[in-house]
Amino acid sequence: MAKIEFQNIHKSFGTTKVIENLNLTLEDGKFNVLVGPSGCGKTTLLRIIAGIGPATSGRILLDGVDISNVPPGQRGVAMVFQSYAIYPMMTVRQNIEFGLKNNRVPKAERERRISEVSQIVGLEPYLGRKPSQLSGGQRQRVALARAMVKEPTVFLMDEPLSNLDAKLRAAMRSELVQLHKQLQTTFVYVTHDQVEAMAMGDCIILMDQGRIMQQSDPETMYRDPDNIFTAQFIGTPPTNILGLESESFKLGFRPEAISLSVNPAPDKAFTHRVSILTREMLGAETLYKLRLRNGQEVMARLTDSSLMVGDELYLQVDEENLYFFDSEGNRVRKTLSQQYGAMLERVTRSHES
Amino acid sequence: MVAPAMTFLAIFTFYPLANLVYLSFFRYNLISDKVFVGLTNYRNLLFVKKDFLQALENTVVYSFAVVFFTILLAILFALWLEKDSWFNRFIQKSMFTPYLIAMVSTAYIWSWIFDVNSGLLNAALALIDVSPLRWLNDSSLAIWCIVIVSVWKSLGYYLLIVLASLKSIPREIIEAAELDNTPWLRKFVRIILPMISPQIFFLLITITISSFRVFDSVQVMTNGGPGNATDVLVTYVHRYAFQMNMRVGYASAAGSVLLFILMVLTIFYFRFLGRKVHYQ
């Protein structure tokens, strides 16, 4: 039961402003993922929720209650730190127990919760060990167990998987998703990896330079970006963005939305003559770097691997896969704007001239 | 949380310092009233009486000797005892032990070893048919005896520090030099010494500062004698403040000179620290 609301949040370190006037609502029970490039303020936002790095100004509400002045230990939130922050001088059991003791949880209850949690994360055999005697993955589990045992209303995680190897990371990803299904509490999960964000989140919050660029479910994030930043951050390779001659707006389409053919089909919205610069065979798919006649380059991702470097072809994109952005980089949608028709027409004509 | 600590430091460190410099401009013997005399004390100290300059000279000679031998021996022994073995660790421990013992005890033990009539050293000299020396009673030897005792007492401590800094040199750098077939001396001069030079410099300053404060060993072993051959700054200040009619103002002036010397050394040291932080 916890909805988190940020109201007019500002945060500066000394004179550098990191977050300016941020408003955001994280719904109850969701697996929220905060994603964005390094240094955009994800950790800062998480620390504001936890209360360990309070905002410079603005309010933060938990289920409608202002908790801006509640000390971190009494907010009912638990956090898994990027560095795990396990107490090195305590055993695994003492690590898990520490918060419970501070909150005066009775002994019997503590025992019950510790054995339950350590069973879930598979730490039972290691309860008597010191953190230095654990592997990276096991330490990560200690950090997780320490958070879970408090039965928090909000679960904060700051890139908890970034120190693990690829295989363990994949395994832990699905375990965390399962854990969320089990606990049904609000998760706020920070990552800078868009693949992880797409794979795990119910709700993705994409940030850049302290601002929220888009907040939506993964599907929408991918299919219906609000701006150039989102279009390019989500998906690999990133969305191709083209400027058109003597136009202020920009055109975008995903590498996988491209079709290439010797004879252009007549019903496509965007057609352009291209030559293949490079070819990268990935297995099921192949990446091509293409050069347009005006010198701009775009990436295409196709299942067809038969095309060769030097081939001259027609690049085509359907209307539903074209994104238009205004000069600020914001999306111009079909439903919302009259400009859309004009832009589409100019794009369609651009190859005839 | 810092207040109690700062209060202690203010009352027992900074106020006494200021007061010392203040008193150095007065004639004062704890009983009569203070009389302002300007720079008279300093003039007497530096230009009229000869004994202060003698004490200063003794202190400087003592300090240079201690610094030189301690650092030289610490480096040599560190290189020699560097390999981690049971025996080497045992030697390191043995060498460190005197550091923890009171200088008073050390001084008594060595006085006994230096004893002219029944001391161990003269007995050893007799064994090889050398006529006995007068050690602490010999005005030209005495100060060197005190130097030996100081080096003996603290060498083990500085050895440990040099050893630790040798260990902090990344192994790969040494290994790279060995792969390049660098001769031993060249490896030491071009690689090891530059890598540990910040610590060596640090030791240079700390040993110098602590040498200028020498008192216990001199007091016990020679009491400044014979004559004033081993009189040093602190015994000098102590003598004038508490024995020679309690000439507190005059002793304060002598203390202020010592303070000035230590301050110059300290500033030197801070400068260096600043550079080291920069360097990392």
């Binding site: 209360g51 360990i52 000390p71 971190p72 730190f81 922050a85 396990i86 107490y87 305590m90 520490f98 918060g99 408090k150 | 949380m1 810092v2 109690p4 600590a5 202690f8 027992f12 460190t13 900074f14 006494p16 310092l17 022994f77 025996f87 045992f90 030697i91 421990k93 060498m95 460190f96 032990t97 005197p98 923890l100 013992i101 009171a102 200088m103 008073v104 005890s105 008594y108 033990i109 006994w112 070893i113 004893d115 029944s118 007995a123 083990g156 050893l163 500062i209 404060r213 008192f215 216990d216 007091q219 016990v220 602190v234 200040v237 102590h238 403040a241 203390g255 230590l262 300290t266 801070f270």
Partner: protein, 282 residues
Amino acid sequence: MYSKHTGLDLRRGVTSGISFAFKLFMLVLFLFPFYWLIITSFKTYGESIVFPPTLIPRNFTLAAFEQVFSRLNLWNYLKNSIIVTLSVIIIQTLVGVPAAYALARYSFRGKGVMLALVMAAFMVPTQITFITVYIMMSKLRWLNTLLPQIVPFGASAYGIFLLRQAFMQVPADIIEAARLDNASELKIITRIMLPAARSSLMTVSLFSFVGSWNSYFWPLVMSNSEKVRPLTLAIERLKDQDAGINWPVIMAGNMIMVLPVLVIFLLLSNKIISAVGYRGIK
């Protein structure tokens, strides 16, 4: 090829032989004075001055120790040394730990100045401040108490400095995790910071102990009666009262003084050695 090889082996053998012999010599040089201290204290006065000196006491006797106890009220000196040393360690810890914690973890106005003052105080020797502290103490009429040997050492600049270094090494994340676990500041200090700074704390206490137990100059100045003097000053009395110096008695007195330090060192030597080395390169 073959002969060159054995030549090398031979040279190596000789080098390591010399090296070993020299190491033994070092051991003698550093341990023999202690041996000499011990055996002299078990000799009779007569045996101590025979020539050539005996390396093993012919008549093993406790006479020197008996003399020490009969000539001095040794318990009084011992009691003073213990009270002063323990008080200094306790007060320094109580005063120094919070100060070091605040200087390591909080930012507040004047922090830079305070740090500079601590560093400066670290450099000021008692051999300079003693004149004016003495005047202060005599005005307070404290000179016939143990207070002048304790109170001026209430804050150890060196200890604060070293502990602060150690506290700063504790990752901020861990302290924040503890805050999230609802731990009070006191609990953070006792459960997180002090265990993490254990080896620095041990070093600081050890050097406080050694410094206080061994101090000679300060109590010499700051006491005006035998009643308040520590062991270091007692030995001088063994010397004064005799015409010829009775070395066995003096060595027996020194034995009593040195023994606690030696015992502690023997018990903790590995820890002490590594703590000293580590501290040195910081």
